[in-house]
Symmetry: C2
Subunit: 421 residues, 2 copies
């Protein structure tokens, strides 16, 4: 009755998952909807930026050679022959000792190669004409933004797999990407199993609890960049479960179930995987929580059998499902980002398994520090709320002390790690 499962190391478990080929798909969406999505192609400069020599300040465009003799005691006078704002182009030809009054962002008049800033010019009227004078010598290019200075046509601006942020939105607009090539959001199917589960709007009953895992996993899935198709809870009947799982797989890119993976008497997932003919990649991992996570591969899709225990479910998703999703989002670093941090509390108890402690990472005088975000019991939802990281406490015969350096995995970061194990 008590099935023995051989646990494998975490890195090996992740390797077995990532060895399966999964590919992202591109879709073109409006720039108005692209913020927060992931680029599926390298972003190229479609033209030089700026695409003309431009004035970066308000002032007077001149031929720098005419200022050659200007100094404190020798102001040089220029006749102001035109006046242009950003967006306008002067059609005057600027000759010796002539100037065009020019506003920030405007295109430089053809013969001009320097801008005398407003603050360094004195303007005045004489004989019904407008003049300005300056006491400053200017070199060619002074106060001019040169064509192509910011970006050259054809240049790679941002690599594919990058999450689009406000700066990238600005860049997309600048280069005329009205439609943006982004990774199609992977569709993640989700079942919650367990006869103890009540709906969020149901009153409590003896022995039962409300289903919270499906809400949690949905939010985690969204955070990573995919979308969830929630298929509801599975009933306590093998045949119904089998048919439901089989049908669901067809509709999604990967399938997550929570619960039913343990060796308990009502844990059907292992049998379902067997009847499907899915290849079980592993069914036990040497880690806490989440050791009974089972992952299988079927028909080119990965099936994640996460624990029904909220904390184990949370950690299992982040370690095993996240990298597959991010790979489909073209990320070169699909895993949780790993950094070094200093523990601020003791963990006196040793544990033979590697522990992933839901933690609150913060900074103290420029250093990363980390503390558990709640009591570290695997059934406590509370500690998940404050978690922005998972502290890794390697398995062994000793505990850990405040001041020890540990590795942490960042949950809310979008850069990731190439291979943290």
């Amino acid at each position: 009755m008590f099935e023995f499962r051989k646990p494998i190391p975490i890195g090996e478990a992740v390797s077995r998952i990532m060895a399966n080929e999964v590919n992202g798909k591109t879709e073109y969406i409006s720039i108005n909807e692209s913020n927060g999505r992931f680029l599926s192609e390298d972003l190229l400069a479609t033209e030089d930026v700026p695409h003309f020599d431009r004035a970066p300040y308000d002032g007077f465009a001149v031929r720098s050679i005419d200022t050659a003799l200007a100094n404190r005691d020798n102001p040089i006078e220029f006749e102001v022959i035109d006046h242009i704002g950003a967006g306008a182009v002067s059609n005057k030809t600027v000759g010796p000792f002539q100037a065009v009054r020019i506003m920030t962002g405007a295109q430089m008049p053809e013969n001009c190669d320097a801008v005398v800033m407003l603050e360094l010019a004195q303007d005045f009227e004489r004989d019904g004409k407008t003049f300005m004078s300056t006491k400053r010598m200017h070199k060619p290019g002074d106060n001019v933004s040169r064509r192509g200075e910011d970006a050259k046509k054809g240049e790679v601006l941002v690599n594919k797999g990058t999450k689009i942020n406000p700066g990238i939105q600005a860049m997309l607009a600048t280069f005329g990407y009205a439609k943006v090539p982004v990774a199609k959001k992977p569709r993640v199917g989700l079942f919650a199993t367990g006869t103890e589960l009540l709906g969020v709007d149901e009153p409590l009953e003896p022995g039962k609890i409300r289903n919270s895992n499906s809400y949690m996993i949905s939010a985690q899935t969204e955070r990573v960049g995919a979308e969830v198709e929630y298929f509801g809870t599975l009933p306590d009947d093998f045949d119904t479960c089998f048919e439901a799982v089989k049908a669901a797989i067809e509709k999604v890119d990967m399938l997550i179930t929570t619960g039913g993976v343990s060796v308990g008497d009502f844990d059907y997932l292992p049998e379902i995987y067997a009847k499907l003919g899915a290849e079980v990649l592993f069914n036990k991992v040497s880690m806490r929580p989440g050791s009974v996570t089972t992952v299988a591969h079927y028909n080119g899709k990965i099936l994640f059998g996460l624990s029904g225990n909220p904390s184990a479910c949370y950690v299992g998703f982040e370690l095993f499902a996240r990298p597959v999703i991010r790979k489909m989002l073209f990320s070169p670093k699909p895993h949780l980002r790993k950094e070094q941090a200093v523990l601020t509390v003791d963990f006196p108890k040793a544990n033979p398994f590697t522990r992933f402690v839901r933690s609150s990472l913060s900074f103290s005088n420029g250093k990363i520090v980390v503390a558990p975000s709640g009591l570290d019991k695997s059934n406590i939802v509370m500690s998940l709320a404050g978690a922005n990281s998972l502290a890794i406490l390697p398995g062994g015969t000793r505990g850990f002390k405040a001041g020890d350096e540990v590795e942490v995995l960042l949950l809310e970061d979008h850069e990731g790690s190439e291979w943290p194990w």
Copy 2:
């Protein structure tokens, strides 16, 4: 013609804005849509969790007193009188040396106060009955999760103003929050000004550039947690601009314009504010970029006149508009989070103004390090793409060297600072 404006310190500018009363509003939304929103009320435990004594492991529920004499040489036998999974409740009365086979998450039978884990039990049949034996003495409460152990009814679980994350979603579900009280997203009106602006789908023309600021500000606004109503670009005509701005204010909680705030000849915003009768809180700040930011107050709403220069616009939004939005989202720490970091490059040039350098913050051996995310020219959109922070270089007569410690403002953090200045 050249208007003199007296710059004020950044902290003073932010103070003047925050002195105006702005209030958030609550709305109740489905838990299915609450991920990423901000709680507008403290979240209370609506009942004890767990709400019954439960088994955290698979095993046998027993009366601990019956195990008192168990040891390696003295296994104690129990008759197994029932078998329950999670969600089920045993209606048997457990007497001396009786046990109930129980699965993880199930409610403890009435008289039982300990669980013998499967691994520490030996089960067998005798005379058509099921038995188990254990060699381990158990104390009352061993392997039992007590009612209320995770949370007590009435307890504050999460404070208002917190951004809802996957862990909080799980908590909301656990406590039956089918409808969640969240801050209504502030509506931010947005105009882009400048006759040089082309649409993202228009081909380039001499002297003109594509409008990128409205896409950038929209994405920044979304990142902070508000929503944008984009009113388009403003034409180069004072009366039309005035009427458009006046009408727009009525429809939103605050109004952002980009461009038109400088002292250039086509900068109408100051005149528009004057004609409206808006109280100008400041029109120059001693900072780079963004010194010509103008902020006004009109009819209980704040009008942000951000620079048309993309970098100045970006920084102005984060320093000035963000805290107002976050205050309306009930955040007790509405400003950008400030931390210490070590510069990894030199900034040899001194600047009399405090500079906000668009930077890429990262970690090196557990320490925060920071480097500019691109060439630090105020007209360069490129450096915004890689920016996750703003390094603060205080104004003065000296430059900065790699290894110097500086303050940084985190752009993608949701915790914030109470008052960073």
